[in-house]
């Protein structure tokens, strides 16, 4: 997003808050929205726009795990592999998913930049494992076939 577009959108957001600094989460959300991660430049942009130090903004970004600081695929696929999910086969499911996407077993981003796959701890859906969160949407009771269908659909969407 261009910095002008950001500033324009931010003006509307600022109206909701008594002090500028209170808008920091929403400002960061806007900056991350289009490309799924926050660059160093984004952190500086937010700091400048909200009259905060870079350190303060970075501390907030670091606290919230939904803010990402590394380039991320258009679709972020998070699979829980913690104990209850692993008992339902989520760890093996995760390794196979990585393999089919041509990624190393620990996950990563596909060469086309479309998918980032990562293991997470707890998506609060143990009883429906294997479960994946793709951007903001949950996919439950997954099998390899079901996951392939989802991935194919997302590939089509581009």
């Amino acid at each position: 997003m261009t910095s002008q577009a950001f500033y324009e959108e931010l003006q509307g957001v600022l109206k909701k808050y008594p002090v500028k600094q209170s808008a920091v989460l929403e400002a960061l959300y806007i900056l991350q929205r289009d490309k799924n991660y926050l660059s160093d430049e984004d952190i500086h942009t937010a700091a400048e726009a909200l009259e905060m130090t870079v350190t303060e903004v970075q501390a907030i970004v670091g606290f919230y795990s939904l803010f990402r600081r590394q380039p991320t695929g258009k679709y972020l696929i998070q699979v829980c592999t913690d104990l209850p999910c692993a008992l339902r086969g989520a760890d093996a499911f995760y390794r196979r998913l990585c393999e089919r996407l041509g990624l190393p077993p620990e996950g990563g981003t596909t060469a086309d930049g479309l998918f980032t796959v990562e293991e997470v701890v707890c998506l609060a859906a143990c009883d429906r494992a294997p479960v994946a969160q793709i951007n903001l949407q949950y996919f439950e009771h997954l099998t390899d076939q079901a996951m392939d269908a989802v991935i194919a659909r997302l590939r089509e969407q581009g």
Binding site: I43, T53, V54, T55, E56, Q58, A59, F63
Partner: protein, 888 residues
């Protein structure tokens, strides 16, 4: 309102709102803490202070406490332990801190903290004065149930900035450092990033940990996580000797401890004085002590012989000086001799300096106003200075502070903390200056005036105070002393009637409504303080206007009321008090015979010049046109290089003496070190010289004897003695963990003594003199301003390698708007010319500057600002040419 509660079966009555931890401290019960610090808001992060709390059961119908069969109050115990650092007391509360349950809670917290804390106390700088170490000894289980192999590991020597090193393993995430930076220092450049085991202290500012106060975080760090590069691995705390001293780097007069080992200073720590620096010092005060141990120090008297400087004995050097002075005096009269003393010299030395010149030699030519002291002086504080008992650390709601033309964060950092703290506690803060400064963020009113119009601005404020009424229709003048003790009110009211806010607005550029609002807010307060500095200009009319404003608002003669001048050096106030100016004698007595000022002396007004602790020829870049020049110095300064005789002086840490700070507080400092070589204290050199010149009665054996004479002869210092200056004060420091995170030293706390202003005398009558302001500054063209910066090119600071990268290099600061117009970017060279003098320097775009103002800091290497503007000028007249240098 007071509240009575019971802690460990003992009753204690404290003001409502007191935290349990403080109430316990009142009766000598120490509740262990890590994150809690009495200077900061409580957060309850470390959980070390868990206690058991019970509240009396109140009968809902009667509203009375219920009692059991035995007549005892029924207590309802809270189901979980409570953090004593966040919980305020309440009536009838019962607190238990010494039960098996509380002991188990403390054990648990410590065992948990130690799962991530390394066992490297033997090589840790904090070892020996570490709260975690102490509290572990006292409260921990002694043996951990956790496997040592699974201990948390992280970066051991992470540079948090170039002064502070962070050990991430040792950090217990108490957030004292981040809170200090945010709440106290106003530099929120430290933060905790991430969560849980990944949480760590970070700084992303450019440069990292960019703050003048960073060293304080190492003092309050309750573990060895934050250490200074200066002290790191240099000594164990128990090897140190502690000497109570006073910082000599600015006029605030922060109380410090010189920690020495084997005759060298290894660290400087703050010493508590709630009336001056509380428990803080700035990084310059903490780190710039290396001049004491510099290899460049002068250690032997030097005399010019055949064009070369040769080492001579003290006898030979002083005899030569006496002979030459006597000869010049006989041949040309005493007035052919003059003296310039630096405002870093202690009171005793300055007093003897002027006494030698005036009484022994018989010349009125005495001055201290060279270098940073040129171009800003003060003579109103003697009448309207802040009254005795003023404590900026305790003012808040009901107090108004007007800061005029001073960048406190650079000029007097600890004063910044105290003024910002007052604003944080509800004080009205009016920050009036020619450019944006850090204090703006705390200000309730920001007045941005055109350089050269500060006097006009004050007249505008005076106009409002004398001609307008508040919403209730009452006058804005202070009714305590006006009109009873004031003369000339009607005349002043008539004089300022033409200085309406509207007229002042056209001259100063400050909107009339802003002037009006600030004046109303200022006058409406119960207490008022005016702090003014060099960027307001050095015009007598300015000082008169400020004094008049303080008087008509009634903000004089009472504690927390009056004026503070932000003078440059550690003892600038003392220099003014002791008459180190050619027109005044000690104690603000007018001199019958006015002597030459420093500029006139160095421009050839005298044939022989005595210089002590000053470098007048560094800045003037003038030819030394003197028959005889004597210099008392620590270093071979530019002036010393021109001298006929150079006498090695001792540094503050090597001697005793007293300084008078900005608030007129006289403070004594002890010697911590032996002088190098043959160096002698300035007062002693002056004494010898006086004796050789035939003076009688100059038999002072110590600075104390000099101070005794000062107290006897100068009314301001009457009732003062070293004994009274070092009267120990009752500061509840016996539980050092609360304030100093385990500082091991047991240094005395003194508060010093303030001399009373004229306004404090009940019989004093205030005369409101009128002085016309200087001509209006031009409203067009570019102004060059020479602000003071903390890390300047000063000789003493230059001896500290650690701060070398912080020293400001010569540059021209330009506003972004002007940079765009002139086509300038950072680093490009700018040519600045004024009155046939010109210079080319790299440009720095600085958004703090308004359009039409460029800045070159004062006292940098090569004294570029002084070369352009002249020594005593802090901002330029019109006629400035600024352009991008061709080919850059």
């Amino acid at each position: 309102m007071d509240v009575t509660l019971t802690i460990d079966n003992r009753e204690v009555t404290v003001p409502a709102g007191t935290l349990i931890v403080e109430a316990a401290r009142r009766i000598g019960i120490e509740i262990p803490v890590f994150c809690y610090h009495p200077k900061m808001l409580p957060v309850g992060m470390c959980r070390m202070c868990l206690v058991t709390v019970g509240l009396p059961v109140v009968n809902r119908e009667t509203g009375r406490p219920e009692v059991d069969a035995a007549g005892q109050r029924v207590i309802r115990w809270l189901p979980k332990p409570v953090t004593a650092c966040t919980e305020p007391v309440s009536e009838g509360m019962v607190v238990i801190t010494d039960s098996a349950q509380v002991a188990a809670d403390r054990k648990g917290i410590l065992e948990f903290l130690l799962t991530s804390h390394p066992l490297d106390c033997p090589i840790c700088d904090k070892g020996g004065e570490c709260p975690l170490q102490d509290l572990t000894y006292r409260h921990s289980p002694g043996v951990s149930r956790f496997d040592i192999a699974s201990k948390y590991h992280a970066a051991k020597a992470y540079p948090l900035g170039d002064l502070i090193v962070l050990d991430r393993e040792r950090c217990i995430l108490c957030a004292r450092c981040t809170r200090f930076q945010q709440e106290i220092a106003d530099d929120p450049v430290l933060a905790i990033e991430n969560r849980g085991r990944d949480a760590m202290i970070v700084s992303y500012s450019e440069p990292a940990f960019n703050s003048h106060y960073s060293g304080n975080t190492t003092d309050i760090c309750p573990v060895g996580a934050l250490t200074t590069r200066d002290f790191r691995f240099h000594a164990r705390p128990w090897e140190l000797e502690h000497t109570a001293s006073v910082c000599n780097h600015c006029g605030v007069g922060c109380n410090i401890v010189l920690d020495t080992r084997l005759g060298r200073i290894v660290r400087v720590m703050p010493r508590q004085n709630e009336l001056v620096n509380e428990v803080w010092i700035c990084d310059k005060g903490r780190f710039a002590h290396h001049f004491h141990a510099s290899s460049q120090r002068l250690t032997v008297p030097l005399m010019r012989q055949g064009g070369r400087m040769v080492e001579v004995s003290w006898d030979e050097a002083l005899q030569h000086v006496a002979t030459r002075l006597r000869a010049i005096c006989e041949q040309h009269g005493a007035e052919a001799i003059g003296g310039i003393a630096g405002a870093r010299l202690p009171n005793e030395d300055l007093y003897l300096f002027q006494k030698l010149l005036r009484q022994v030699i018989g010349t009125p030519n005495v001055d201290y106003r060279v270098g940073l002291s040129a171009g800003f002086e003060d003579d109103i504080v003697a009448e309207v200075g802040v009254a005795c008992g003023t404590d900026l650390g305790r003012v808040g709601c009901g107090t108004a502070i007007l800061v005029l033309g001073s960048d406190l964060d650079e000029e007097a950092p600890i004063l910044y903390l105290r003024v910002a703290g007052a604003a944080r506690h509800g004080a009205t803060l009016i920050n009036a200056g020619g450019r944006a400064t850090k204090l703006d963020q705390r200000a309730t009113h920001v007045l941005r005036y055109r350089y050269g119009s500060a006097t006009h601005l004050v007249l505008g404020l005076l106009h409002v105070v004398l001609h307008e009424t508040n919403e209730q229709g009452r006058a804005l003048t202070g009714n305590e002393i006006v009109p009873g003790r004031v003369r000339g009110l009607a005349e002043l009211r008539a004089h300022v009637s033409e200085w309406t806010p509207e007229r002042v607005a056209t001259i100063s550029g400050v909107p009339a409504e802003a002037i009006r609002a600030a004046a109303h807010a200022f006058a409406a307060a119960q207490n008022g303080i005016i702090i003014y500095g060099g960027e307001a200009g050095n015009h007598p009319a300015l000082r008169r206007a400020i004094a008049n404003l303080a008087i008509v608002t009634g903000f004089v003669g009472r504690p927390n009321n009056g004026v503070i001048a932000v003078l440059a050096h550690a003892n600038s106030r003392g220099a003014e008090d002791l008459g180190i100016v050619p027109h005044r004698l000690p104690g603000y007595a007018p001199a019958e015979r006015h002597g030459l000022n420093a500029t006139e002396m160095v421009q050839g007004g005298v044939r022989a010049l005595l210089v002590a602790g000053a470098d007048p020829f560094a800045i003037s870049a003038r030819q030394v046109n003197l028959e005889f020049l004597v210099v008392q110095e620590l270093f071979m300064s530019a002036t010393a290089q021109q001298a006929d005789v150079v006498l090695p002086a001792v540094a503050p840490g090597e001697r005793s003496g007293s300084y008078t700070n900005l608030e007129r507080r006289v403070q004594y400092f002890h010697p911590a070190l032996l002088p190098p070589g043959m160096a002698r204290p300035d007062w002693s050199i002056l004494r010898h010289l006086a004796v050789l010149l035939g003076a009688g009665g100059w038999d002072y054996a110590t600075p104390a004897a000099v101070f005794e004479e000062m107290a006897r002869t100068i009314p301001l210092y009457a009732n003062m003695s070293y004994e009274r200056l070092t009267q120990p004060v009752e500061i509840s420091r016996h539980m050092a963990h609360y304030i100093y995170a385990g500082m091991s030293y047991q240094s005395e706390a003194y508060e010093g003594l303030q001399w009373p202003t004229l306004a404090e005398q009940a019989m004093h009558t205030f005369v409101l003199e009128w002085q016309a302001p200087p001509p209006d500054p031009p409203t067009r063209g570019v102004v060059l301003v020479a602000p003071r910066v903390l890390y300047d090119g000063g000789t003493l600071l230059g001896q500290t390698q650690l701060l070398a990268s912080h020293v400001v290099t010569s540059h021209v600061a330009v506003s972004p708007q002007d940079a765009a117009v002139w086509g300038l970017a950072d680093g490009q060279r700018v040519r600045v010319a004024v009155c046939a003098r010109e210079i080319a320097l790299p440009c720095r775009v600085n958004p703090a500057l308004p359009t039409g103002v460029i800045a070159i800091p004062r006292n940098l290497a090569n004294n570029v600002a002084e070369m352009l503007l002249g020594e005593g000028q802090l901002f330029s007249p019109a006629g400035l040419i600024v352009e991008k240098q061709q080919g850059s």
